[in-house]
């Protein structure tokens, strides 16, 4: 074992949070080492792997290596399979990538902001927790994050989140399908709004504008959608050191309780160390708490509250799909996978009793509930016996051109019983504990799921939709949150409002694991804004931190 690098700041994880912090720090003269458990990804190669994959799931283009395994949606709900050790009572349905650039490779790209009320759930509604910062505190960093990531949006629309600046780019055009849904929604008192998204509508930061390849998940073939490699590459150009295939297994502490660096394991099973004046944990909401709990000989660190790994949250999804009216094809499978949504249920006055939700309108036909059309064809009533030729092609075209789906993201409250802990008895191929997860969806969230499907049904009615299906269980949204929550009271939270550990003064946490509550907005923009805010605080604190030795 040897010390392979020393830097001012050691960042664990190369997803959007780690990449933004690395980029900001290195541009201001701070030396940085970024460690990533998985390998780098070549976009063209990943696109080819996607095409070859029989199941076009979000993880399909990316490697699951022996040293950095990761969950896939194909494992969810299949006991005894996959990377997660699922203890139930319900399966945890969200996944992430362990590659350079993290899960921004396969994210959708939607970037709504949280609402001001999302920061004050306890005060306003008597449930959940208040954040240790307000919407107003974060708003300037939302503006910065939108600029860094390249967000396109319609500033004329009121999304419920006050803005001090316009969007960096004009909105992504809403789809024809969105317009059909909007026409129907307005007949029942609802409106369809353009969804802000980190997707270029013009050349931005030397990246091409979106041409609607309809493959944001699992991979944008042209890089029009933001991913963290953009900031990682920029950071490396400015001098940051990136070490891939380096699986961090513990944060090293000095006797005084400060962090002195991290220890990581290579694919061959050997261990090395990187030292720094500060450590930033940016390994998402499963691996970050797992590493903290594996540290200190398995006794854990930064855990005087006992809440590291607790309060695991998602945005459980109510999913419904149908065919539009026979005389109203909607022509999905064109454009980004989602370009609009129904946002008013996010501001439900009943948030003290039942989860709010936002309705995401899909442009991807039935790919979410059923699968890629190539797979759907093998599952559905195609072809009927003794059906073929042009008649079959016409019936298939007619079917797909009418496919609708709605996915509503509900809010899950922090619950200490929803946990991720290291499974010290179930190790991966290089001897590192796999994540053990306990998870359930409570009545609060179930109420929101029920309300969402009732709304979907009203929409289907207004659309005169056929073959309506409301999936009777919740899907994971891929939004993993809340396992190292921030708060003002060290007895009841892991980090302060800037992501600084209450217990380890030179360790910061970035990412959605900080969220005390999760609102109903897709989390990436918020975690990016928080990371930018953390970077400022960290840089201000650096002069007072001990040297890296």
């Amino acid at each position: 074992m040897s010390i392979v690098a020393t830097a001012d700041v050691v960042i664990v994880g190369s997803g959007v949070a780690g990449a933004l912090v690395a980029d900001r720090l290195v541009r201001r003269g701070v030396s940085v080492v970024v460690l990533e458990a998985g390998p780098p990804v070549d976009r063209d190669r990943a696109v080819e792997i996607f095409r070859q994959a029989p199941a076009k799931v979000p993880e399909s283009p990316y490697p699951s290596t022996a040293h950095a395994p990761r969950p896939t949606v194909l494992d969810i709900g299949v006991p005894g399979t996959g990377y997660f050790v699922q203890e139930g009572p319900e399966p945890f349905g969200s996944t992430y990538e362990r590659v350079v650039g993290g899960t921004t490779w396969h994210w959708l790209g939607s970037t709504p902001r949280l609402l001001p009320s999302d920061f004050e759930m306890r005060t306003r509604f008597g449930v959940g927790r208040d954040w240790p910062l307000t919407y107003a505190d974060l708003e300037p960093y939302y503006v910065q994050a939108e600029k860094e990531m390249g967000v396109a949006g319609d500033g004329r629309q009121d999304q419920g989140s006050p803005r001090s600046a316009g969007f960096p780019m004009p909105a992504v055009p809403i789809s024809f399908l969105d317009k059909v849904v909007r026409g129907a929604a307005r007949t029942i008192g609802l409106d369809v709004l353009s969804t802000p998204q980190a997707r270029n509508t013009e050349t931005y930061n030397d990246r091409h504008h979106c041409v609607g390849n309809s493959n944001c998940i699992p991979i944008c073939p042209i890089g029009a959608k933001y991913d963290a490699v953009i900031h990682l590459d920029r950071a490396v150009e400015k001098g940051a050191k990136l070490i891939s295939d380096a699986v961090v297994r513990e944060v090293l502490l000095r006797e005084d309780g400060t962090a002195r660096g991290v220890r990581f394991r290579r694919p061959d099973g050997t261990d090395d160390e990187v030292l720094g004046r500060a450590v930033v944990m940016a390994a998402h909401a499963i691996e970050t708490p797992k590493i903290l709990l594996m540290s200190n000989g398995g006794d854990g660190i930064a855990n005087s509250s006992g809440q590291v790994g607790q309060n695991l949250m998602d945005h459980p999804i109510a999913l419904s799909y149908a065919l539009s009216a026979p005389d109203q094809p909607v022509y999905p499978q064109r454009g980004p996978l989602s370009t609009a949504g129904i946002e008013s249920p996010r501001q439900s006055p009943d948030r003290g009793l039942r989860s709010a939700f936002r309705v995401e309108i899909g442009n991807d036909g039935w790919r979410f509930p059923i699968g890629d059309p190539t797979f759907e064809f093998t599952q559905g009533p195609f072809p009927a016996l003794r059906e073929g030729g042009a008649a079959l092609a016409a019936r298939w075209e007619d079917h797909v051109s009418h496919e609708l789906r709605f996915a509503s993201l509900t809010e899950q409250l922090p619950d200490r019983a929803n946990t991720i802990t290291p499974a010290f008895d179930l190790l991966d191929d290089i001897g590192i504990p796999r994540p053990r997860i306990t998870f359930s969806i409570d009545a609060y969230t179930q109420g929101g799921l029920d309300d969402a499907q009732a709304l979907h049904e009203r929409l289907f009615g207004a659309l005169r939709a056929r073959e309506r299906t409301h999936v009777p269980f919740a899907f994971g949204a891929g939004h993993i949150m809340g396992t190292t929550i921030m708060g003002t009271d060290p007895r009841d939270s892991v980090a302060d409002g800037f992501g600084r550990s209450h217990d380890v003064p030179n360790m910061w946490i970035v990412g959605s694991s900080l969220f005390p509550t999760c609102g109903t907005a897709n989390p990436t923009l918020t975690l990016a804004a928080l990371a930018l805010r953390t970077e400022v605080a960290l840089r201000a604190a650096l002069p007072s931190l001990p040297a890296a030795v």
Binding site: I174, F176, V211, F375, P383, A390, L392
Partner: protein, 177 residues
């Protein structure tokens, strides 16, 4: 391990279309040596066309008929589909009979409806086999693997869409196509 496909590339290029298709079948089914020996014998190839196992030429012609010749079907996935069907006892004999009743018939039907009118799908086995041929071409999936994603008819038959992951995209998506 050498790639048999690259090993025979020169031979493949030198062969006429029908023989090239036989070569693809051999590769797909793992019987390259035996098939290759037959390939070089025009007499044996001719005999197979009338009474022997279904050739790739015949399978491609059958596929074109079952799809009403609306698509440009590619030999390479076709060879994989044929090999899969031949390996499956549920489809092997019915496929041969289906070819016998269509492609090898005196007056070859040119459309799916003509195949039906001819009575070639009257038996359950023949109808199931034709159905499976279409499922293979539309899905591009065979034996749990992807034979051809971008050319799968589930995408190619949608004039308003493109298979995802191409870099072509759309000039706009906010209006009906």
């Amino acid at each position: 391990m050498t790639n048999p496909r690259s090993d025979v590339r020169a031979l493949e290029a030198a062969l006429p279309l029908a023989s090239r298709r036989e070569l693809l079948v051999g590769l797909a089914s793992g019987t390259l040596v035996m098939a290759g020996a037959d390939l070089l014998s025009p007499a044996s190839a001719g005999a197979a066309t009338r009474t022997g196992p279904v050739t790739l030429d015949e399978f491609m012609e059958l596929s074109e008929i079952l799809t009403d010749d609306e698509f440009s079907l590619d030999d390479e996935p076709g060879a994989l589909y044929l090999a899969s069907l031949v390996r499956d006892p549920a489809y092997n004999d019915p496929l041969r009979q289906l070819v016998q009743d269509t492609v090898r018939a005196d007056r070859v039907p040119r459309t799916f409806n003509a195949v039906v009118r001819r009575g070639a799908l009257r038996s359950e086995a023949a109808a199931r086999t034709a159905q499976q041929v279409l499922v293979l071409w539309y899905s591009g999936l065979v034996d749990g693997r992807t034979a051809d994603y971008l050319e799968a008819l589930a995408w190619q038959s949608l004039p308003f869409a493109e298979p995802p992951s191409t870099k072509i995209g759309f000039s706009k998506w906010d209006e009906a196509p």
